[in-house]
Symmetry: D2
């Protein structure tokens, strides 16, 4: 058990919210692949905070520093390590005692797992900030997949139960809803859909090697994800086989299905149709409304008021993260 993705490509994410740096090691990338670091920076910018009214107003530079694995902008076969330095770290000793766990955060469960030694500053290793190195790896994976004509694109289907209509990344109606909860110190969740185009038929494996197993395993590595469904997902449970089955037909020489209820995966293996899945993102647990919690030291029930500015809705910033871990997973399967 361990926070490492993949078997062929191994991706290890390290860092805490307030450690010297956060980063990622990507091991066993093929050698000789050109990485466009400007494009990568643009991808990272999609995850960065402080860009608009619906995300936190903190400013993080998120400047990528490559420590190894790249020669003349190309992968050299050695593990690629890239870091983002944290600018707000303190090196001196400090009080690391967790007294009051924040509801629906990892504070309590991590406290028990690590016997109270986990870094609690800013959520430590459980901070959403750790999705930044995931996006470094994912942005690189996306570039390699693009060279194979495989695209990974996620979009917001709904936020707070409001359907995301229109062509914009987020509709005005949703932005208004986010603004509304922000002023009240509350937060909203949402649903993201991800589509992978270009994966040929025959990729994946049986049992826990299934594409659904691999993708879901990676997706749940992202904090705040509570569900995943492939193709028509939970809806299939209300359908008859005759309604749910996807008829095959020849599109020229290519076998395709008329519908895609199966979401591009049959028996754990790609069918050649687009891989489609949706994930549920919970509302940010960091809210400034008073909550009930416990004081682990005094063993009393207490009221908790969380200070600071937080994302009223992390769904928009989760979109590139979904793309990132999906791209990593698909790349792994393609090698």
């Amino acid at each position: 058990m361990s926070p490492v993705f993949g078997e062929k490509i191994k991706i290890t994410v390290f860092g805490q919210s307030h450690s010297e740096a956060i980063g990622v090691v990507i091991d066993s990338l093929p050698a000789g692949i050109e990485i466009d670091f400007d494009e990568l920076a643009q991808f990272m910018a999609r995850r960065a905070p402080g860009q608009n009214s619906y995300s936190t107003q903190r400013k993080e530079a998120d400047k990528i520093k490559v420590l190894s694995g790249i020669v003349n902008s190309k992968t050299c076969g050695a593990p690629l390590c890239a870091i983002i330095e944290n600018t707000n770290t303190r090196s001196q000793d400090y009080d690391n005692l967790l007294e009051i766990p924040r509801p629906s955060h990892a504070d309590y469960s991590a406290h028990i797992k690590y016997n109270g030694f986990n870094d609690i500053r800013g959520g430590g290793h459980f901070s959403g900030r750790l999705t930044a190195p995931l996006c470094i790896a994912g942005g690189i994976a996306k570039q390699i997949l693009a060279q194979k004509n495989i695209t990974v694109d996620a979009k917001i289907l709904s936020i707070g139960g409001i359907e995301n209509k229109g062509d914009k990344f987020i509709s005005d109606e949703i932005i208004k809803a986010i603004d509304d909860v922000r002023t009240k110190g509350d937060s909203l969740g949402g649903i993201i859909e991800c589509v992978v185009n270009g994966v040929p038929a025959g990729i994946g494996d049986t049992m826990s090697g299934s594409l659904e197993s691999k993708i879901s395993s990676s997706i749940f590595a992202i904090p705040a994800i509570k569900g995943i469904e492939f193709g028509n997902g939970f809806e299939c449970a209300s359908l008859k086989g005759s309604q749910n089955n996807d008829p095959f037909y020849f599109d020229g020489d290519i076998v395709r299905t008329k519908t895609n209820n199966h979401g591009g995966i049959l028996g754990g293996i790609s069918s050649g149709m687009p891989i489609v899945f949706r994930v549920a993102v919970k509302p940010t647990p960091s809210i400034s409304i008073e909550q009930e919690s416990v004081n682990l030291k005094t063993k009393e029930n207490v009221k908790l008021n969380i200070q600071g500015r937080h994302d009223p809705c992390i769904v928009p910033r989760a979109v590139p993260c979904i793309e990132a871990v999906t791209a990593i997973t698909i790349l792994e399967e393609m090698l």
Copy 2:
């Protein structure tokens, strides 16, 4: 990538629907654990077909034969191999050519992956029959967990969109609905909920080591699963943080949450609350209603009529399978 579960306990499932035998190797079980093989047989019986009107009328003995790993009914530390002999196998050469893939089965995707060499008799390695060895491993895992006061129980929430009301395993209303589709050669899917009680706080890991990653990876190893959601799952996407967050409180000396929207997992790590998740099971793709498909040999679009008797609804038989892979996963995390 490979159909092996687990890192500490390694579970390998082998066999095809018509091979000599199907079976499982369970590697690295602790030594000295007493296995109750009568209890295991009872667990297996829950998955067996031919028991009632809503499953297939085929009769399979599913008699477990232990080849290794057990001495005097106790695990001996060596890999445990148990098999179920197939009685309907043919050893002589035969035609293994797939001409017409069945819609929403693994026929086509497996054909591509294995260059046409996969065993197509009865679905081969992709047959639902391969969940039998999974249940051997899962039944053993359940017994070991029970010794740690951990229980894994799944139940049917709905079938074909009909809520499963009352105390029975399946309500009369649902049995009637299944009978109805059976007579029409059609099939139904459904939703299963699984609850794991007794897992202490602090189990699991970060990133793709999260309990959600591990459980979902195992669950999607079962054929026909199209979605999984933890706690309140997709519903969280419509809630505000103030509604979704689960307040902590002291229940005597024990920290608990007043609600369990998080489903017993926070930051990938158990919170001590019951682990709760739901899965969507698609309607059996094997229906006797005429369907559209392709002839891979002649490259023509064709009509397909599947013969034979099939489960009009595999949801009831999926219930022990869900328990099995969940028990395997939780046991792995507890060691």
Copy 3:
């Protein structure tokens, strides 16, 4: 930690000396590979006992029964499971108490590891008999490698310190020496050399992914191996760099080295030269000469006399085992 070989091809060996069967699961073999089972039987025969004066007189049939993974003599992509049934097993309960561990066997260390629950009949899972399923996997790997023009050949360099001169598998002088120790109830060890021809340059990896790491890891899975050296091995420690370095030259278009002190591996990666290594096999610890041991029950020092007929020298039977695990390892690296 677990008795599984490989990451791409996963090989799991199960069984005990007196369990119902011993066997192997080979997972993720490419589909469509024709296996010559007669050739495999011939390979197995090289490991089988009872063939001549220098091995044990027990007769084991070692008849391979394929349970899964083969369709029309070809791999079908599903895990291949093959077993050898044990004919001398007892299913009723019996006394499994280890009282007196045999010197230089696994009896004592396994007893501690498994808290006394390990199967002690005939050495249980630690019996040399478990190299039979390894040879099934290895024999298949050899056939697949042969299709890529890669050969794996081991031979005996010396036994009991006597150099194995001449063209025979074992020289008459050595057979005489084995006969001699056999009559005295003693045993002999020896040195085996293995050469892998045909591996192209560029196979392997860095760090613990080095070919030496992979090969040595597999070799030490065979009981009784106490050392391994690549190329000129330990001799290099007495040489100067100018003597030990292997000069490159062009042999036509192919880069070769004039000497092969490096044993075909540089920086963990194949150089294109033959891969050469030697292993030390200890004398069979089963001897009928009286030995000193302990009674774990009474906690007394005791004398031990081991009954039964045992190999006076397992070196000849180790030769195909060395080839087997080497072939498995090289195949894994070639995929």
Copy 4:
């Protein structure tokens, strides 16, 4: 296949000789372990160059910078990343064409594996410099093992065939021999013995999970190692079973063996006796004497003269590296 050590503790080494930094990620260390960074620096100093006449005169600072995983000098459960910045790196594009591979270096085999994209500056990822991050991980592992009363100590047995007599780390006779080859532009290899004390009986596993498999796999991750032998090693091949077997006896309540020919490992599992093994280190391939090689561009045989100052003997600096990877391996098995 990948340069990652371990399954429970995962250690990833990254960096090239001339990349921005070299470093290591250690994943899944237990939380709450105090690390003495002064002691770690002292351990690192044993590997550092430029300290005496028998190693290279280059000066590397090897200052450890911890990026993550440590809070108040204690492990916090999150992956520990520590780096050493390289001071001589060039960020601008440069010529990365390998023309003439150095004999017995990884130049040629890596060139083939990575299609010429590997970083060739200073040996790239294959540089002995990459043992520095291994020593960071190993130094930490040694500290954790010491808390369990397990010690890992290596020493030089011989260099250039000269036995290392006396109490000194290196005898005067050997220093003189090294000085001698240094003036001639040549180099020497040697033999190192490593002893692990304090490992309780019962640690390890069967097959490729054997302690010998695990230790040898790690040892061969160190460049220049050509052989490993456990206990009496290759000598056992000349002994009779009656000479080689180690008699058991009770030392008070503890079972011990009178001799330790088995090197503390029986059946892949620790016996409680000291774990003892020896490794052969080849002479540094970097010599300044003219050598024969090939020009890969012009496809001609050429003479090669390597410039620069290099270790005439890396054996002394390999000693802490041997301890490092052994400590990592033993720690992995003890968790």
